[in-house]
Symmetry: C2
Subunit: 384 residues, 2 copies
Amino acid sequence: MYPWVYYAPKKNFGVFFVADYSDTFFMSRALDLARKGRGKTLPNPLVGAVIVKNGQSVGEGYHRGPGKPHAEVEAISNAGNKAWGATLFVNLEPCCHVGRTGPCTETIVKAGIKRVVYAATDPNPQVNGKGARTLRRAGIKVSNGLLSQEATRLNDVYFGIVEKERPFVTLKLAQSLDGKIAAFAGHSKWISCEESRKFVHSLRAEADAVLVGMGTVKTDNPQLTTRLVKGKNPYRIIVSTELSFPKNCKLIDNNKDSKTIIATSERNIKFDLRHSYKRGLTFWCVKSIKSGEIDLSDLLDKAKSFGIHSILIEGGASTATSFLKSKLVDKIIIITAPIIIGAGLDSIGDLGISQISQSISFKDCYRFHSGADEIFIGYPKWKE
Amino acid sequence: MYPWVYYAPKKNFGVFFVADYSDTFFMSRALDLARKGRGKTLPNPLVGAVIVKNGQSVGEGYHRGPGKPHAEVEAISNAGNKAWGATLFVNLEPCCHVGRTGPCTETIVKAGIKRVVYAATDPNPQVNGKGARTLRRAGIKVSNGLLSQEATRLNDVYFGIVEKERPFVTLKLAQSLDGKIAAFAGHSKWISCEESRKFVHSLRAEADAVLVGMGTVKTDNPQLTTRLVKGKNPYRIIVSTELSFPKNCKLIDNNKDSKTIIATSERNIKFDLRHSYKRGLTFWCVKSIKSGEIDLSDLLDKAKSFGIHSILIEGGASTATSFLKSKLVDKIIIITAPIIIGAGLDSIGDLGISQISQSISFKDCYRFHSGADEIFIGYPKWKE
């Protein structure tokens, strides 16, 4: 995944490159290990650890989920005696508090680790620099910041839920070059390429829940499964003020796993509970705001109580617009296919922005190719 | 510009890379030389040539403009006697006909060149494979296709004018992630970053003319100069059916170089010639189609007669839409800034596309970063 890191040229003797299996190499390896926990660790972070002695990895580990050993502990246990005098590479600051498992700092000190290199500081107020301090007090050499951008992006959800104390909200859009999600007459399906659709399914597998508005249910009748990739199916939240489902609605009919949730406003739920939408469906009774729309903050509160830590919004435009207007979007993923539609359905509706200077910009963003498409990932900067 | 080509690893001995100054290296050099002629060679192609003997360049040349020596001739003349038995690298098939200068094939044979490697075949019916055949008949080893994609993209304008026998039309858009060129209240200026604006000025320097609609003249009052880069200012074409210019219109007032052209329909031109728009302005009397709009094919005919070989359309949305609807766009450049506007002015209007399957797709496209922005370049595939 990071060939430029694996072969990071340290010195360039004429036309020869000398590869350098350095700190960067091992931190990159720790990040790769952390990725193995994707979709399984929430509300815990993704963490990978490598124990290095004499320039060689002698033990590796990653966090497999809540209640399971932390990455550092697993790596040290795999290294056994070799951990004595070794260096620990880990993508997140080691913890120093007792949670479901004991503090990692204690295990690190006991194992005789000489040096600890971590990428990102843990924003959890119980750690947040205290882990590093505990290690330094025990005489361990500690440094941080190596590949911190990668480490921060990798744990964006964890960092988000620690900071905001609500589920992390990702908005995904698939659009044409000119920002349309559909031609006027057509469906919004299949704008993006096969590779991008697989990418979307992997996003679903990582999220606790996907969310759509009733418009998308009616137009596209989506399944919202992870069928193109390995991974669990997420909860499926349908947000609507009116509960008139189309016939053969897949989210209702294919609900054997009882993961379909209908989030609707109080008045409607009373009305509809008397009716037949009972095939394993969960109903959330969500407050509405004055305009009759769903109160999205209340929706996120309900999701949090339900144990949902991350939500992927999959459309349509009006749902996306509502979340953006409420400033409740933490991450935006835009998949752009190389086509031009002209007039059609906008990917995003009116945000009340009348000047370019008021537009939504990003704290951090990056782009990569996905087959013929391009994927933009950004973390919006919300002005207060 | 092509570090991965200059240091193309041929063999990988463990962790060591051995650089290979191969055919690819010299063809890449020929392309770089060709680029030096940018903005000066039309209607001729951009051509660069390198003479290589014993793995070393012994002569280089590029085409500097119509009537000046061809790249091959310049390179051979610079190589002198060393050309005997050498290899010629050139990005376009050598010509075999007499134009303003003699045929290159003759010079190549006379110089004793042993091998010719060219990237792209010249689509000009007077050459188109005949150049290669002439060389082969003289006993020269000829190969082609190396870096042909780069070579084709570099000479897109030349290839376009040879094929379509009309000026090459490039459409440039600067937009937000969600495909808006402006918020409702605002100007469309400064959506893109400084680096992208310089890129646009370099596009202007390469084009024979830039073209805008009257809407853009009124809203943005642009100068359409190349002030941020080195290079000549292009002709400035204003297309409009109505000739009511705003006060302090920069394209009218700053017309010291007499490069502002007003393309308008017959009736208006009669009307306005009686008025005061005479400060060095050129008027083109263009046919109109039944809806009263300008006939763009006729506009391109006028431009051709005027000696304009390439036109850069700089807006606004309705001008872009008209050209796209007429299928008269050969290249689309979309600069996307990492901002979201929501409702605003669409970059492209109604193209009469009602299904995704009818959308405009591309024969070839690529993307690259420009500061915080991303630039998409594509060659639309027009269905008949």
